[in-house]
Symmetry: none
Subunit: 245 residues, 2 copies
Amino acid sequence: MARSPTEFSPVTLPLSRTAQLVEHLGTDIRAGRYKPTERLPTEQELMARFDVSRTVVREAVASLKAEGLVVTRQGSGAFVAQNPTGKPFRIVQDDLTSITEVLNVLQLRLAVEVEVAGDAAIKRDQLRLDDMARCLEQIDAAVRAGDAAIEADYEFHLSIARATGNPYFERFMRFLGTVLIPRQTVRAGIEDPRAQRAYLDQVQAEHRAIYQAIRDADPIAARAAARAHLEAGRERYRTISREAV
Amino acid sequence: MARSPTEFSPVTLPLSRTAQLVEHLGTDIRAGRYKPTERLPTEQELMARFDVSRTVVREAVASLKAEGLVVTRQGSGAFVAQNPTGKPFRIVQDDLTSITEVLNVLQLRLAVEVEVAGDAAIKRDQLRLDDMARCLEQIDAAVRAGDAAIEADYEFHLSIARATGNPYFERFMRFLGTVLIPRQTVRAGIEDPRAQRAYLDQVQAEHRAIYQAIRDADPIAARAAARAHLEAGRERYRTISREAV
DNA sequence: TTTGCCATGTTATCAGACAAGATACATTTC
DNA sequence: GAAATGTATCTTGTCTGATAACATGGCAAA
């Protein structure tokens, strides 16, 4: 991990005690010297072994928790996570400066959501259909209130993912959501209220097409509707971003 | 005298104060409410604003540091990182113990690769087609040598992703590969060499169907071929795993 | 044996203090 | 006047001691 970019340290880079402890314990865990699910030494033991205060120990453990290497249970102890070496899939926000990059991520979203809609049309039950319908109504209400309904829109898509019964779909869509939602505020940037209303009505019509295909248990139609919706969404992003420039 | 965490909700939420603060600050940063290189409130201000102790504030900041969202400079303050990285998408290996879980991840892979094949059929050029063809030949060679050709198979799929020009496709497929490849060794577990050869010939026939559709610039056929291949793959995994039990 | 209580150990959180580095501003020096 | 310097003050880093919440195992009672 890089230190402060403005700081040139000629020979020695002084790591804080916390950072040293994180480094030490992290390598121990990655090297398998502590095995998955094994309990780490108690805070008191770590304090004594490394001659540091409890603050340092706790901050180090907090860092390791954030890295996903350990989990703690209050009153029980700190334990090595089951999979300490899983390399995650990252999308770096700063890479999404160009329109093209955002469109690429939107295409990844399209890929997943098309399949999600198709599978939802197979797996869906009345309960999930009710959830989707409720989301659609919430979008309607938000639009009537003059809101951009970004959150309700998001929830509708998630409700479809839940209907598949495959938890990875919802998790991945939530992941993409955190990446994309900050970019989606352009939707709220449409100045003319009537234009925005027309825009939202169009989006909602596409939503209903997806919903109806799922309700009709027609996976092919559901995939087609989802594809239409998300390709239109990419196109809208393309044109709006271009105008914004 | 503990502050009542049930003040707002009858059911105590299992999130620790530290975790809540991490969540709050993390979303603030990711949402851009704190901009890169901007200074965060001081520890004292955060203590006052969230009504928590300095321990909680410091552990929360330690977590955010581990996530790469903030950097701290002693005596100066805590700052939003220049490249605040989003929360990554993780698939924990240990969650893939059950057949169902693996099938769920395979479905995620299917979703992406179907779209990848379709987009490759649109974007492909001669250079990329040559890459794919070369991969197919390598699989053939490996199979003739009696090898399971897992690596060459992987490379073929990646070559399709490269043809789309969308780097996120290849990155995501590589990510899923690291998760799934350890599970794929069942392929090598087929004991009868003739059965394995028949299996691999079938797989290779499906590969060629995908390749030809892409070569013919037919996205619909490419998606159908990719879907057929990956659904067959899921089915093969299902049956083989069941036999293994 | 089973159930429930309780002592003990552990993490979570709070509070206060001092050390070390950073920053702005006044002071000194040229 | 400008640059160098000293200093007050702010902020993070670390230490210490205490209380609350939770987990666990043992023991007593049913």
